[in-house]
């Protein structure tokens, strides 16, 4: 029997490259463009790896990669430092706890799970932001960002599909 499937997954492949792609996508979508009075949406691309990494396998490096992504978002967007790091880690922890329920479900169901986890991250960001700034963010603005982020599920699905069976020990 071949032991090729048991070969450890290299972190650069399943952590490093998605992390860099998320950073690049965030920078591209921050371009100051306006078409017919409308601006580009601002989805949280970091939700894609936060969801997928927890599903692929438990990892020691993944939480720190998510923390780095969150800190980048805070510094690049000019928000409170630690806000997105903490919100994404809350979402990651939720997926990690519920991964046994999620694995093997249909694509629409997984999309619903992704939307739910995104909602948890947005609610966490809303609450942490309230505590930090002592003011309530606009619920409508939160909803638009949630909607734009929930539409990113196909990327998360592809990432899970790509690496889910890469290491047979985590089947």
């Amino acid at each position: 029997m071949s032991m090729r499937g048991a070969r450890p997954l290299h972190p650069a492949r399943w952590l490093g490259i998605p992390l860099l792609v998320c950073i690049a996508a965030t920078i591209v979508f921050s371009a100051p463009l306006r078409l017919w009075g409308l601006q580009l949406p601002e989805p949280v691309f970091a939700m894609v790896p936060a969801f997928a990494w927890a599903l692929i396998r438990p990892s020691i490096l993944a939480p720190f990669a998510i923390l780095v992504l969150g800190l980048f978002l805070d510094l690049f967007w000019g928000g409170p430092t630690g806000l997105w790091g903490l919100s994404l880690l809350v979402a990651y922890a939720m997926v990690l706890i519920a991964r046994n329920m999620m694995t093997g479900q249909s694509r629409p169901m997984m999309w619903a799970w992704f939307a739910g986890v995104t909602a948890v991250a947005m609610i966490a960001g809303f609450l942490f932001s309230m505590l930090d700034s002592l003011a309530m963010p606009s619920l409508l603005a939160v909803f638009w960002q949630f909607l734009a982020t929930a539409l990113l599920f196909p990327f998360a699905h592809r990432l899970v599909d790509r690496f889910d069976d890469a290491d047979v020990r985590f089947r």
């Binding site: 306006r34 923390l67 700034s133 309530m136 963010p137 939160v142």
Partner: protein
């Protein structure tokens, strides 16, 4: 030597538990970052070297990414101007005719204003220098609304400087590095700007919430605002100069007064940074400190009472019905030098 060939190569740890520990450690670090953050204070020292470094690195990257979009916009403008030249010409002619009337009125008002200032000896605010900048990145989320502008400390930009576009106030500078500044928009959740309603002079605080229309809070006065009222900066507190256009008042769906920002009507790629300091800071501090004040004199009882020159005695006025005669009390026996009757009034301290 690879790790798995070493003495610890056979060490097995439960991955789930170690992953959980790693997650908890990462959460603790994130909480520490959030607690240590002082972004909402909008102070220079709160911005930090890390943010400045990220801004400096982001500027060329975001600038390069924004360039194709800018070129596309310029190309579309060129094509549009080619196809719609005739209608544009008609519109501009009508606008020029209207503007001529406004110009004549402005000149007349300027003349009147100058005469009033001369009559009153009024000291007006000094002109404010500006720095132009191009926006290279724009964050629009519910928790952070900022822009990165490509002008920084080399152009004299300081933390707190107001930022405008061609229509109105955009926000203010919260971080400055060499060649780049971070602008906190009026819509950011941490933004607070003192404003007033142009029609009634009613004061309010413009408070961002991450949405496109910031709220008007602490609105004072009886019937202070109506739909469509123009909102301008009040200059209170010296954060921004008075009279900068901000937007128009609207009633929000939640029943609160909000502002549709004038700045949203214009393109977002160019801004002007007002190199404004609080006008109170422009006074010559040295001159204020060296101003000569009248000397403070204290009363010396001996010199003021005992050696005071005797006043000229006047004959007592004849008593009338309206001025009752005052009866002097008996003079006490003097222990010291005998004063003159006029310089030692009854009850005077000896």
């Amino acid at each position: 030597m690879p790790f798995h060939e070493g003495p610890l190569g056979d060490l097995k740890v439960p991955l789930t538990w170690t992953a959980a520990v790693a997650l908890i450690v990462a959460i603790v670090i994130a909480v520490a970052f959030l607690l240590a953050d002082r972004r909402e204070t909008l102070q220079d020292h709160a911005y930090g070297v890390t943010r400045q470094t990220v801004d400096v690195v982001s500027k060329p990257v975001s600038g390069a990414i924004a360039a194709p979009g800018r070129w596309t916009g310029l190309g579309l403008d060129y094509v549009r101007s080619y196809f719609f030249t005739a209608s544009e010409n008609r519109r501009l002619k009508a606008e020029v005719a209207e503007m001529r009337q406004w110009r004549d009125r402005a000149l007349s008002l300027q003349d009147t204003n100058d005469r009033y200032k001369a009559l009153l000896g009024l000291r007006t605010d000094p002109p404010i220098p500006m720095a132009s900048a191009r926006v290279v990145s724009d964050s629009r989320g519910p928790f952070a609304n900022t822009r990165l502008a490509d002008a920084g400390s080399e152009k004299g930009v300081l933390v707190g400087n107001p930022v405008l576009n061609e229509r109105g106030l955009v926000g203010r500078v919260v971080g400055v590095s060499r060649g780049v500044s971070r602008v906190l928009l009026l819509t950011d959740i941490a933004s607070r700007t003192p404003v007033m309603i142009d029609r009634t002079n009613a004061r309010a605080i413009l408070t961002g919430d991450g949405g496109p229309n910031p709220k008007l809070e602490y609105l004072r006065g009886v019937d202070p605002i109506r739909e469509g009222d123009r909102v301008v900066t009040s200059g209170d507190g010296g954060v921004v100069p008075r009279g900068l256009p901000v937007g128009a008042a609207v009633k929000g769906l939640d029943g609160r007064w909000r502002v549709v920002l004038f700045a949203d009507d214009a393109a977002i790629d160019f801004v002007r940074i007002l190199l404004f300091k609080d006008f109170a800071q422009l006074a010559d501090e040295k001159q204020l400190q060296t101003r000569s004040l009248p000397p403070v004199t204290t009363e010396d009882p001996k010199t003021s009472i005992l050696s005071a020159p005797a006043p000229v005695t006047r004959p007592p006025a004849a008593p009338t019905a309206t001025t009752p005669r005052r009866v002097s009390p008996p003079r006490p026996a003097a222990a010291g030098p005998t004063p003159t009757p006029a310089s030692a009034p009854a009850g005077a301290p000896q």
